[in-house]
């Protein structure tokens, strides 16, 4: 990367020299008004290491995928998870369900058919991370244990979780953010709003966390940090295809926070 940056500087300098050197009389006085500049900004840091297979959230999503019989690839990509990952914090980025294609082109499209799988995946992952269904002494470190996951799934009336985590797939490199752009295709179905489901997930997590903080309980396990799960949603909101205004369908990040005092907050803001 450093070599590429150096190459960029050299290419710019050379181009400037070539243009200003051979101008003859026409460029008299021109060089004073001449200048080039290389500005850096908007960088995205890498995680600097291998896949965070040992992270609780990674373990959770693998367990959820196993439960849902969903085959998912582990990838390296540039997403909104870059910031926490580069800080060494636990983070994963997953899709919002449905299908999409033509990423970062004007023909980018999203189809909400079959998005139930993705939404189930999100909900179960959040519940498992929140340690839902545990005996009231939740901690982030324990949240991914099979017992907790099992209880979490019982609470949301699903079946037993098969916690057979296989070794992670080979990491492949790609850009999975299909559907992250602004374009909305003709394939968009006239559907409900998955954002509401995401919001429901967030509030469920907040509720469960608050509920589990039983007042007067003394033997609270010392979790690592425990009380906040940061959810950054960057998904289509399923606008009706009759709507012409694409900006109204733009992604809306939402963030959620819950605390042991039972206070939960959520923001949904335009990006």
């Amino acid at each position: 990367m450093e070599r590429l940056e150096q190459t960029l500087r050299l290419a710019l300098n050379r181009a400037v020299e070539d243009e200003t050197a051979g101008g003859g009389d026409a460029v008299v006085g021109a060089e004073a008004a001449f200048g080039s500049e290389l500005r850096s900004g908007g960088n995205r840091e890498s995680s600097g290491g291998g896949t965070r297979c040992g992270f609780a959230d990674f373990t959770c999503i693998r367990a959820v995928d196993a439960q849902l019989n969903n085959a998912a690839q582990v990838q390296r990509a540039s997403t909104d998870a870059n910031i926490p990952l580069s800080l060494g914090l636990e983070a994963i980025a997953i899709g919002g369900g449905g299908s999409g294609g033509g990423a970062h082109t004007l023909q980018e499209w999203f189809d909400s058919n079959g998005r139930e799988l993705g939404l189930k995946r999100i909900l179960l992952t959040l519940l498992a991370l929140a340690g839902a269904g545990d005996d009231g002494r939740l901690s982030g470190a324990e949240a991914h244990r099979p017992r907790n996951l099992f209880a979490a799934l019982k609470r949301c009336a699903t079946q037993r979780l098969n916690f057979a985590i296989t070794s992670p797939d080979a990491v492949v490199e790609s850009h999975p953010s299909t559907g992250s752009g602004q374009a909305v295709s003709q394939k968009m179905r006239d559907v409900g709003h998955p954002a509401f489901v995401v919001a429901f997930c967030c509030f469920t997590v907040l509720f469960l966390r608050a509920q589990n903080a039983v007042p007067g309980q003394t033997a609270v396990a010392p979790g690592p940090k425990a009380d906040v799960i940061f959810v950054h949603a960057n998904v289509y909101t399923g606008c009706p295809r009759t709507r012409n205004s694409v900006p109204s369908c733009a992604k809306r990040p939402c963030c959620a926070r819950g605390s042991h005092s039972g206070v939960g907050r959520m923001w949904i803001s335009k990006s």
Partner: protein, 133 residues
């Protein structure tokens, strides 16, 4: 971006246990590793001038085109996969003006190792065979 604000505020950063990012469509991927990228904006300023009477003055658009041509000829390693992209190009005033006129800037953004999406770089080219003012 909301994400950055949360992680630069100690109050939040120190209390967030997990982050779950929902990005794009599908249910068949897990991103657990962050791909880094460096972004640059290249700006070239010139004296500007008229296409006829100031012919020969250095033209920022030409310089940028040359720089892009030189830079994009750079070979990049396949392993580890390394990419670059010229994402946006802008600048210029009119077909009969040297683009560097006044404070106008010509610039393009370069995304190194950032991704393989084809971001369209549409350049409108104008040419005029001189005809005084």
């Amino acid at each position: 971006m909301a994400c950055g604000i949360f992680f630069s505020t100690p109050r939040w950063k120190d209390s967030i246990a997990y982050s779950v990012v929902l990005d794009g469509a599908g249910a068949d991927t897990i991103v657990a590793e962050a791909l880094g990228s460096r972004r640059f904006e290249v700006i070239v300023r010139g004296p500007g001038g008229h296409s006829w009477s100031d012919f020969g003055a250095p033209n920022p658009i030409v310089i940028l085109a040359r720089a892009i041509d030189t830079f994009t000829a750079t070979p990049v390693p396949a392993t580890p996969k390394t990419t670059f992209n010229i994402g946006v190009i802008r600048g210029g005033t009119s077909v009969n003006s040297n683009s560097g006129i006044g404070q106008h800037e010509s610039g393009y953004t370069v995304d190194l190792d950032g991704g393989d999406g084809a971001v369209g770089a549409d350049a409108a080219a104008g040419a005029e065979s001189g005809s005084g003012r």
